[in-house]
């Protein structure tokens, strides 16, 4: 056997410190526990609209107060291939009203978003307009990564996700605070300190033992656990990562699959409601509901508080569709709205609707002017924060669609004298970290820009008011 790096590290126990840890502040275990206690019994869910959701046909000007509608009508065609949503087709909330804070324009939801509008009417939806970051990028991958890492100018050189840095500061390697309902860990959860599961279906998550030799199952489990346990203790980041993943997988493979049957047995009517929506967003939220139901009942080794799901199909370069019910974007909006409504009905019944906060984002919005029958990549767009404890209403300004940059996209601005000032995604994250997750100084995980305060994010505002 050759002497390998892994052996060398194992034998000498060299501690290669630091590069994967958060700031020194968070290495204090007492502080870590105090922060974890602040979260209490809250849950946080991230829903990613993958591909670049067309924000202009999500939250749409319904009247011409301030002139937004004129600009909208000029950018979005009527007739065949046209994407223009007529004012009468929009779902316009009245109580609470949904008005752009800057222009005073009445805003409406896309007609596919009836489910979300219902939640809005119950005061549980914060619509946060004009969300983006300086030097916006129109590459899916680059922009998605910027949203997930939350280091738009690359100043901090972070390789971890924004939520990952929070988790690393608050949880240890033996805990499993997060679950991504997908095959891989979403980038905003990436870190190297604690364990985030990736699970597609709880019921299929049992460990695959073979049953040929009776009595050997325990021996296999012990060996597997020991091998992954030593990798978990490695200082080499890659081995530690694989070790953490496998160890968490083994633990969860024993505690998570039964959650499926428990839920199925106890909450059949809600399960039916998710299945009636019949789309992946509903199915993924159902998996989260099963975990929350387990956490709430105190099932051992089930302690996840942070979840992530995504829905694809938003890259509507062609055949985007307008208000017609068979359109592409209509179908996507209906799926998300209806699924969220079922999810919150379920949470309400479980008594945790006010303990749960869902954040919806997309990597960019789309070009203001449509192409033949779709839209190309754009810049700032709306986010949603939803939950029983959310202060419903409109936050942030509608982007100025009458004043576009040379590429035909709305401009990012932090100029306080500009009525169309953008919402930096870090203000949204920071408000969640501070007011939902009890972090006193979100700047510890969110890098603040230097430079021109009109075009850079130099003055954080972690008190946006929606939480």
């Amino acid at each position: 056997m050759a002497i390998t790096r892994r052996q060398f590290i194992t034998r000498t126990g060299v501690a290669a410190a630091g590069s994967f840890l958060g700031s020194g502040l968070f290495r204090n275990p007492l502080l870590r526990q105090a922060l974890a206690d602040t979260i209490g019994d809250r849950y946080f869910v991230v829903l990613f609209l993958d591909g670049g959701n067309d924000g202009l046909n999500t939250i749409t000007p319904a009247d011409n107060v301030g002139g937004l509608r004129t600009a909208y009508n000029a950018a979005r065609n009527t007739g065949s291939g046209g994407l223009q949503l007529a004012p009468g087709s929009l779902l316009v909330p009245t109580s609470p009203a949904m008005k752009d804070p800057n222009t005073g324009a009445q805003l409406g939801f896309h007609p596919g978003l009836q489910g979300l509008k219902n939640l809005y009417d119950q005061g549980q939806v914060a619509v946060i307009q004009g969300c983006g970051y300086p030097n916006y990028n129109t590459s899916h991958e680059v922009s998605r990564s910027i949203w997930q890492v939350a280091d738009p100018l690359g100043a901090a050189g972070y390789g971890t996700g924004w939520m990952g840095r929070y988790l690393a500061a608050n949880y240890t390697g033996s805990q499993i605070p997060g679950v991504c309902v997908r095959g891989e860990v979403a980038r905003e959860f990436v870190q190297y300190t604690t364990s985030v599961l990736a699970i597609e279906q709880l019921k299929d998550f049992g460990f695959p033992y073979d049953d040929f030799l009776s009595g050997d199952e325990q021996a296999k489990r012990d060996a597997f656990s020991a091998i992954y346990g030593q990798a978990k203790a490695a200082t080499d980041p890659l081995f530690k990562y694989v070790g953490d993943s496998g160890s968490a997988m083994l633990t969860a493979s024993e505690s998570y699959p039964p959650l499926h049957n428990d839920y199925h047995k106890d909450r059949k009517s809600f399960e039916d409601a998710y299945n009636a929506v019949g789309r992946s967003t509903a199915r993924d939220l159902l998996e989260i509901a099963k975990v929350i139901y387990g956490v709430k009942r105190g099932v051992p080794n089930v302690n996840a508080r942070f979840f992530e799901i995504s829905n694809g199909g938003y890259d509507t370069h062609s055949d985007q569709g307008g208000a017609e019910t068979d359109g592409q974007q209509y179908g996507l909006h209906k799926e998300v709205g209806d699924s969220l409504q079922v999810f919150f009905n379920d949470l309400q019944d479980m008594g945790v609707a006010s303990k749960t906060c869902v954040m919806v984002w997309s990597e960019f919005s789309r070009r203001i002017e449509q192409n033949d029958n779709g839209t190309d990549h754009g810049s700032q767009g709306p986010m949603f924060v939803i939950g029983g404890a959310v202060h419903g209403g409109v936050y942030g300004n509608h982007p100025n669609i009458a004043d576009l940059d040379g590429d035909g996209n709305t401009k990012y601005s932090q100029d306080t004298a500009n009525g169309f000032r953008s919402t930096d995604l870090r203000d949204v994250y920071g408000t969640i970290l501070k007011h939902w997750l009890g972090m006193t100084n979100p700047s510890a995980v969110l890098p603040v820009d230097g430079g021109d305060p009109k075009t850079r994010w130099t003055a954080p505002s972690y008190d946006m008011g929606f939480l």
Binding site: S139, H140, S195, P208
Partner: protein
């Protein structure tokens, strides 16, 4: 310092074969070492093939997928398939949108025939590939309102990259808009062959407001005049001219941008993640890749360098799921059966379902970026899927049926538990740590590490020995290569 005349050590030979193929058979390694083969000899031998005309035909995309995997398992030309996989990921095209198994099959052949030829020719061929034209909307790119989808990705992903090594943008939005015009008017016929319709093409004199068909006035070191892509004629020639210009693009260090971007990616794929720029530049200099764009020369230059062998004993790259599956089948000397299962009977799901759970359905990458590599391959879900696959591959069946035949793989007369563990680890190409070795000895002997084992005893062989194979295949070290 070594070079092409360096004699390969056994572990270097193992590294070379598993990185250029799917698993290294210990007998082949022993043979190479016995002959005293040099790096240059073995690499030349690996690269000495004419691309095969193999096409994974099938009416359904699932058949195409499984036939391709089956071909990977049985082909003598593993490097060819490693390259087809690379190009499939690089020029990621998904049947979820294309929805045409025949077009995906044609594209698969295109990648095979061009797998180690001229990269510029490959990009030009991909421009006109029907599946790609569907996937990135070239067929929906109209002169009235040009669609930027392909124009963006041909620069961002296929050739230049978003930024150069100094962090400067390689292209602007204005360049995307102009290049999108070059791709207007293209479609494909019933045979899947590209066609050009001048009536759908965006001609400059019809749209004066869109400006001249000039790109890279601020990037690429072309000077403030940029480059016109109508110099070879307007209309049909434009899409080739655009590619010619892109391949002349120089980054802010005055190096060929395409060569650095693709060269670095090839090194990441075959050697280790995030190679230093100095290595990429050295391999380009050794091979002339920045003028010839000859993939074969680049690979030869890479595979004889010391840096390629630096991690031979200490793998630092995560195996792709398809590599994990095909390597495992090769190392266990198993084949895919007619139903694309790897075991007899009903337990083993077809190979596509297995790969789905591991996060890599071929011919359906998650997006135009292809798959995320390295640690993104590893999660609790994908590890569980890998364990499930190896459980199926190694577990003995009740009633005596078994697909794994350990007597073909190791010497069953071994009795020392440590020797048995070492033999299985060597068969599977894993360097065990001392801790891992003792854990596995304890497993094999039920915590009686000093007691000899009898591998000809059916329970020991079909239970413990099969289990030992499974545990090593499931271990962290085997996930890497």
């Amino acid at each position: 310092m070594g070079d092409e005349n360096s004699v390969l050590t056994r572990s270097e030979a193992r590294h070379l074969l598993r990185r250029t193929g799917f698993g290294a058979d210990p007998r082949q390694l022993d043979h190479l070492v016995l002959r005293g083969s040099t790096r240059g000899e073995v690499v030349d031998n690996l690269l000495d093939f004419d691309p095969k005309k193999f096409k994974p035909r099938g009416k359904q995309i699932e058949d195409v997928h499984n036939k391709w995997v089956k071909y990977m398992v049985r082909t003598k030309y593993q490097l060819q398939e490693k390259l087809v996989l690379f190009w499939h990921d690089h020029f990621a095209t998904g049947n979820a949108k294309v929805n045409n198994a025949e077009l995906m099959t044609n594209q698969n052949l295109l990648f095979r025939l061009n797998c180690k030829g001229n990269f510029k020719d490959l990009v030009k061929a991909v421009n006109k590939d029907a599946a790609m034209m569907e996937y990135l909307d070239t067929v929906r790119n109209s002169k009235n309102q040009p669609n930027e989808n392909y124009a963006r990705e041909v620069e961002e992903l296929f050739t230049l990259g978003v930024k150069d090594s100094a962090g400067n943008a390689n292209y602007t939005q204005a360049d995307i808009v102009q290049i999108a015009r070059a791709f207007t008017g293209w479609d494909y016929d019933d045979d899947g062959l590209a066609t050009f319709d001048s009536g759908r093409h965006d001609y400059a004199n019809k749209y004066p407001a869109r400006g001249p068909k000039v790109i890279y006035t601020t990037v690429g070191q072309f000077g403030s005049g940029g480059r016109s892509f109508t110099v070879n004629g307007e209309g049909e020639p434009e899409i080739d001219t655009v590619i010619d210009i892109i391949f002349d693009h120089r980054d802010t260090n005055s190096h060929n941008t395409v060569a650095r971007h693709i060269g670095g990616k090839l090194i990441s794929y075959f050697a280790f993640p995030s190679p230093p720029l100095s290595l990429t530049d050295a391999v380009i200099a050794d091979s002339g890749f920045d003028t010839s764009f000859d993939i074969n020369s680049f690979l030869r230059a890479l595979f004889v360098r010391d840096e390629f062998y630096a991690n031979a004993d200490d793998p630092v790259s995560v195996k792709w799921p398809v590599d994990y599956v095909v390597s495992t089948l090769n190392l266990l000397r198993m084949k895919l059966k007619s139903k694309y299962q790897y075991v007899d009977g009903g337990d083993g799901a077809a190979i596509r379902d297995q790969l789905l759970n591991m996060g890599q359905v071929l011919l359906d990458p998650p997006s135009v970026f292809g798959w995320d590599w390295e640690t993104a391959w590893i999660s609790s879900a994908t590890l569980l899927a890998r364990c499930s696959f190896t459980r199926d591959a190694t577990a003995a069946r009740a009633g005596g049926g078994t697909s794994l035949r350990p007597e073909k793989l190791i010497d069953l007369t071994l009795t020392d538990p440590g020797d048995v563990v070492d033999a299985v680890a060597d068969r599977l190409g894993v360097n065990l740590t001392a801790t891992e070795r003792s854990i596995l000895i304890n497993y094999l002997t039920d915590n009686h590490p000093n007691t000899p084992v009898d591998l000809n005893d059916p329970d020991t062989r079909d239970g413990k020995l099969h289990g030992l194979f499974g545990l090593i295949l499931q271990s962290p070290a085997y996930q890497l290569h």
